[in-house]
Symmetry: D2
Subunit: 338 residues, 4 copies
């Protein structure tokens, strides 16, 4: 930690900060720069967590070098985590595709979608039973009935189910039907929910918040892991920027950065990430090339009739083409040195 | 609603879209532009909500003219809503200041803070008992004990209590102690929570999400009002941008925009909005000049010892100075034509 | 400067960095943290400017405490700079309004606008003769003819002329007609232009770039001042964010921040900052309350016929009302303690 | 074009807008929605370019369907443009790598870099002789001497030279030495410069502005092409977002979007796009997978001694590895259906 002092800071102010640091049992080093003084602090700087250093007279700002997460860090565990979902693995060289419709709309729609998903070679079925929607007047999902359809589709196809849970009181219910609990972008910092899924015993897919930094995202994962659940999969789904052509800006550099900073698997969602079905294939291939451990893809038997997010859903034909391309590229990449 | 077609769209594709619109019982008008075709749709376009128009072949994008909210709109109600919190009013010319520490830290700290807040002339006491924190290792609040201290401080001073509720299961508990339920920025699109506070019978303070558009924010308010609770106060607390000097970018134009788009009262939080105590006073005065119905201000008996957000908290002296300036400017503004 | 090392950095890598620092004649202090090593460097760290420290093995990142500007800093000069434009002052308590149309469209339009501007009490006439436009097919301005009209309007009314210069080869020409050279947002980091206006002998109005940080903006001002021209006025004109309702997000906290960081005067442009005429008045008053040294306001005799930016231009009636409000609030603020 | 009217718009206001549209010789269709009226306008809406429709009473906003560019659009030319730089092609299946140091630092450094670049298989040598730097106190480049070194390196190796030009007065000079003129991100809307390079006769590399939308970027390209120069290569180099880990956020979806919207070739610059050398390889491969026509890569004989941007430069070894991966992936992709 470095405490930066105003150039106009008085000697007494600098000494007060030094005294506060010393009182916490920490050693320090005071540096005189051209424009600022700075006090470098050594050791367990968490001991200063309860002190509002920036509020002390003369302090300009605090530069924190710590990241706020530990259990999910690559420093703690050098090898990739492999998440095993009832026999289907993701991470550490195991690439997985999660495909399906945005929302579960009916038994027929979902079973048809599941067959398509299965035929293409994906191993997870995605589909929303509880839909978080910007407007209260939009379709909100089939709720528990939707969960039952997902479980039925899973039984028929062997696909593992990943579906969103939007509140703590629903965690148990969703966990009863699903294999992976998804925490959506809008809930990435719903800390009560993070703790609840951390105690659920189920694997968790944690989407990046739409304006979350990589550091905040990893701290959100830390909430889940520190609650006792190490089975977390991260999912980049686009961040909010000024660009208007795409629904979000898919940040593939975050995928590569996560591979360096954390041992957790990370996948990309080019459907939500771009909002346009014709950008899904190039971004899916790009994500794979960037080191992604998997993909989440929206597929609908008939996108024009989808009750949500039709514009970004692939039709069966385009989905199958994409899966072929992905398999070919995976085979190619496996043959290359890392 | 306007459906924009690719310039290369085939006649059959245009006719298919027209047929879909007609099938929903709506009339339309097809326009040929230089670069695009466009189909203007008249009437209750919600009837097309379940159709994924953008997924139809030839469709480039959909321009929606509707806003997604109704009950909170200025169109529905021309006069300002005045929210009455047990005798203390806000909105429609009633200006209110909500002040207090970021977090309830101890009985002594809170009672001292409440006396300072009261002496300065604010009418609401703010203070967090449940603190949403980025890192799981940071101080998370005193929880129900903190609520009890808030209620005690309210009894002593007559200040109304506004405090954050972070999950649906806590709504009843928080409502037992508090006068206004705060929904924080990270939960602005926690729709389960919005519905729960919409059924709580308590006034709600809805903070803007850190990357929420004004339109999304008003739709979040619509969730609460459409659940049966018209007593919503909006709070601008800064949005996330690339700027690094300030913690967030306080968007005061959103305050003025809300006054035009909605009848609900809107206040500003320059403490979180800037993250620096020395920017609180100028931004508080600016918010008042921009038409804000009130302010939320962090005040701490001793900011340097605050367990959270000390750098943006005012000390008692600066708080009193600010309140004097606000009262003088309010008196000045009341004497001016609108 | 603090050099942060990977936790996995080898001792030899740390020693190599220390050797590089020592070779530059600087002293340092190596700190062991929980997650990282850090090397604090003391003194004239510019001596390391030519070394790519971040490229040395084991280095994670460099934390620079310096700001990159000196001459414009409040540290260098504690008192406010007052810019004198041929008798009209701005800064240090002198508040100035610059008003007029977005573009000079014709002699009649400009002379009429100038009379309106003068009657309202502004002291500067703004108007573009060279218009930077996003599309090559939009109106590009009357060029030198426009400059001549501005000079004629100035002669008739006594208003000082502020107008944009968009390239180095035009500096001399624009300086011949204008009192203040405006560098637009798109050119804030057109360093050749900054140097050229720095040698022009004219006062310069430097608009903030649409995605420039406060620090970058002050460094751009440093280019002008270090080229020999201390007469720089900064102008906040809104930054680019995800918000769609407003054209830009007017960052009034930047105005207050600049007053703390720099001695230069800073004004706000609520017309470009919001893009909507009905937000101009509240944002203008808010800017004044935030400590702005002046305002730039678009006024047009007939906004509906403006060839550019009509939606954000005030008509004469609204301009006059605004000026009355500004004068009343200025009088109010002058009577208050700082 | 659609003119959206306030719900409270009076009939007379709607009729006035209709009259304005009719006066321009255009036909229209007035639609009544639930929340708004809307007037759809047919035909050459540019005839309304000189009318500030949004300033007419009752008008809420204007929805423009046109894009502002024509010559660069895929609508105008369906086949990919292939830019031929003295025998080296880019676009339409021709993939090209531009590599070299951020800045030309010395004759030795550049000649050594050029040999490395050549040996790896790139066909263009990049290197800055005029460096736009945020601070006036940073190294500004070797200027004309640097250009001469670039020309010498080109002669020795056969590599084509791409280098930045930062002002109109330098276009002729840079064009004398270089094969491709680079317009940097900070100058993307320096319209005078765009026109000048549009008249230079040289191919132009146009970098995306750091907060430019795809639409604005294509309009900037339209400036160059409409000035008479069809040889434009676009370069995505990262946009400015709130993320702090990466220097910028490389927007690879923009690469895919450009391939759909325009016939011009587009490349990516993962060095500037991420600011970290260890992200260059994964992002380079991802860009290729996303459909990029080439890459710009920073390579330095000794990154730790680079005078600018060392942290994002590859050393020779990593550059050679990257080139091998790129060649293998290109070969793989060529064998696949589009």
């Amino acid at each position: 930690m470095v405490i930066v002092m105003n150039r106009q800071a008085k000697l007494a102010e600098i000494e007060r900060v030094e005294a506060v640091v010393a009182a916490a049992g920490l050693t320090f080093y005071t540096m005189e720069g051209i424009q600022y003084w700075a006090i470098g602090v050594k050791g367990e700087t968490q001991r200063l967590a309860s002190v509002a250093l920036e509020a002390l007279p003369g302090v300009e700002r605090i530069v924190r070098i710590q990241t706020g997460y530990k259990l999910v860090s690559r420093e703690l565990q050098d090898s990739d985590s492999i998440i095993d979902v009832d026999g289907v693995k993701i991470g550490g060289g195991h690439f997985a595709v999660m495909a399906g419709p945005c929302a579960v709309e009916s038994r027929e729609q979902l079973l048809e979608a599941a067959e398509i998903v299965k035929a293409g070679g994906a191993t997870f079925l995605r589909g929303g039973a509880y839909k978080p929607r910007t407007s209260p007047y939009d379709f909100q999902g089939l709720e528990e009935q939707g969960l039952a359809y997902l479980a039925e589709a899973s039984e028929r196809t062997g696909l593992k189910v990943v579906t969103e849970v939007t509140e703590t009181t629903a965690v148990e219910r969703v966990a009863h039907y699903a294999d992976v609990l998804q925490v959506g972008a809008r809930n990435m910092q719903n800390f009560a929910l993070l703790k609840a899924v951390g105690q659920s015993g189920k694997a968790v897919l944690l989407k990046r918040g739409m304006s979350a930094t990589i550091n905040e995202w990893l701290q959100a994962a830390e909430y889940i892991v520190s609650a006792g659940n190490p089975r977390v999969i991260l999912c980049e789904r686009g961040i909010r920027t000024f660009e208007e052509y795409t629904r979000n800006t898919l940040d593939l550099s975050a995928v590569s950065a996560i591979k360096r900073l954390s041992h957790l698997p990370v996948i990309a969602d080019p459907s939500h990430g771009t909002g346009k079905w014709h950008l899904v294939k190039p971004m899916a291939l790009a994500a794979l090339a960037a080191g992604s451990d998997g993909l989440m893809i929206e597929v609908h038997p008939n996108p024009a009739e989808a009750r949500c997010d039709g514009p970004q859903s692939l039709n069966p034909e385009n989905y199958h083409k994409l899966m072929q391309e992905l398999q070919a590229m995976q085979a190619f990449l496996k043959g290359r040195p890392a």
